[in-house]
Amino acid sequence: MGAIGGIFALRSQKDHTDLQLELLAALVVGGVTLVVALTAAFGWTAGATLDPSGARARYLEDFPDDRILDLRLGDARRAALLDVGDAVGVVAVLGDRALTRRLTARELRSVTEDTGEGAGLVLRLRDLGAPRLRVAVADPAERQAWRDRLERV
């Protein structure tokens, strides 16, 4: 499906046999509420979690030419960092799916430590589709090691 675009503006030229705006608004609000409530009621709000083989497989779906040298699953199992030699790979859970990124110096804006609840690394990317990714790594030494690795890309 695509945009109907400018054609819509010409609607006002014709007689209307359309839904009344109030009825349309009520249908939209009621319909959205019903659909969302059903998905929540059926438990489809729980996010996915990763395991090492799943994270590896997901990354290789998008970057099949890479060789994974090392993989570190975040403590919450909602993200993984992968050493792929000349870059660092990231697999991050989004809802019940995951996205991947292959980070080099070009894509990575900064790496900072998130020392709040569930300490970890916050990766800020130049990618406007995923500007911020977080990986929970509670162990300070390991966190520093990955931070160093990310800063070397």
């Binding site: 695509g2 945009a3 675009g5 819509f8 209307h16 046999t17 839904l19 019903l34 996205l99 991947t100």
Partner: protein, 302 residues
């Protein structure tokens, strides 16, 4: 037949959209054949609501172009039923052209990318529509049909039918339909391929209602049961925020175009080149991804 008052079929279909989504969710709950995720669904529905609202904005340049074409129409084709059928078929071909352009040129992809931004494929995905259609002048593709003599309101009507038709094909619940239907019409199977990111499925099946355009113009790819579709984008979004979904590609394009040190030709490349094009070859287009996949397959065979 005099000019009839034609309904807005998309608005009239709203209760059906809701009813069929509820049905698909129930089927998913009890059979596992449809998969929803709450925040993904909210994002899709918000994109649909935003698209509906954006439809009430003035059309500016394209509206004026269509009025001009209407005033200089070559033929007075009238309002008979055969004309409606001709309008439907020609509009479907117009949709195919628009859709193919929207996947091959970043200016139009910047809006259309929203529709492909979910990693799910269900009826709510059908409603994940762009908000920026008015900015892209895509409606200019109606001008030849209006100039030919087809009334604008007739085209709006048949286009509404086309869009409503495309709602039900966004599902994994329906596998394949009888061969004669699969041969002529766009079906859930054909459209799953269109939404897939597997390299062999990229840039395929642009049809609206009739799949014959893809078959005739070399863009048809059948669904292969041995290669399940992976849905979404080749670089998936990390957000459910409707504003970011709607405008991330526009913002990225603006950033690329205003980058210092580029030639005018390179700046144009970032606007009208294929999605993924870059002046230094640092990004991958779908053609690059397909070529890399073909190389891997050939190497695997050796």
């Amino acid at each position: 037949m005099s000019a009839p008052a034609l309904p807005d079929v998309v608005q009239l279909a709203v209760p059906g959209f809701i009813g069929f989504m509820v049905l698909e969710i129930l089927i998913g709950r009890f059979t596992g054949r449809a998969r929803y995720e709450t925040r993904d669904t909210v994002a899709s529905l918000m994109m649909g609501v935003g698209n509906l609202a954006a439809g009430f904005l003035p059309a500016l340049g394209t509206g004026a172009l269509l009025i001009y074409a209407s005033e200089h129409a070559l033929l007075d084709v009238g309002w008979s039923w055969p004309v409606f059928v001709v309008a439907f078929v020609l509009n479907d071909l117009r949709y195919y052209c628009y859709h193919r352009i929207a996947h091959r040129m970043r200016w139009w992809w910047a809006g259309h990318v929203n529709h492909h931004s979910s990693q799910h494929y269900n009826l709510s995905t059908a409603l994940r529509q762009e908000w920026s259609g008015h900015l892209t002048f895509a409606a200019a593709l109606w001008a030849p049909l209006v100039w030919l003599g087809l009334p604008v309101s007739m085209l709006v009507f048949v286009n509404g039918l086309n869009l409503v038709y495309q709602f039900w094909i966004h599902t994994e619940v329906i596998d394949r339909l009888p061969a004669p239907i699969e041969a002529v019409f766009n079906t859930p199977s054909h459209h799953r391929v269109h939404h897939a990111t597997n390299p062999r499925y990229l840039d395929a099946n642009y049809a609206g209602t009739l799949i014959i355009w893809d078959r005739m113009l070399g863009t048809f790819v059948p669904e292969d049961a041995d290669e399940p579709c992976r849905y979404g984008l080749t670089s998936n979004l990390g957000t459910f925020n409707p504003l970011r979904i709607a405008f991330h590609e526009w913002a990225a394009m603006l950033r690329d175009v205003t980058r210092p040190g580029l030639t005018p030709r390179q700046r144009l490349g970032y606007v009208f080149g294929p999605p993924g094009w870059s002046h230094d070859g640092s990004r991958k287009t779908t053609a690059d991804l397909k070529a890399a996949s073909a190389r891997r397959a050939a190497a695997h065979l050796e």
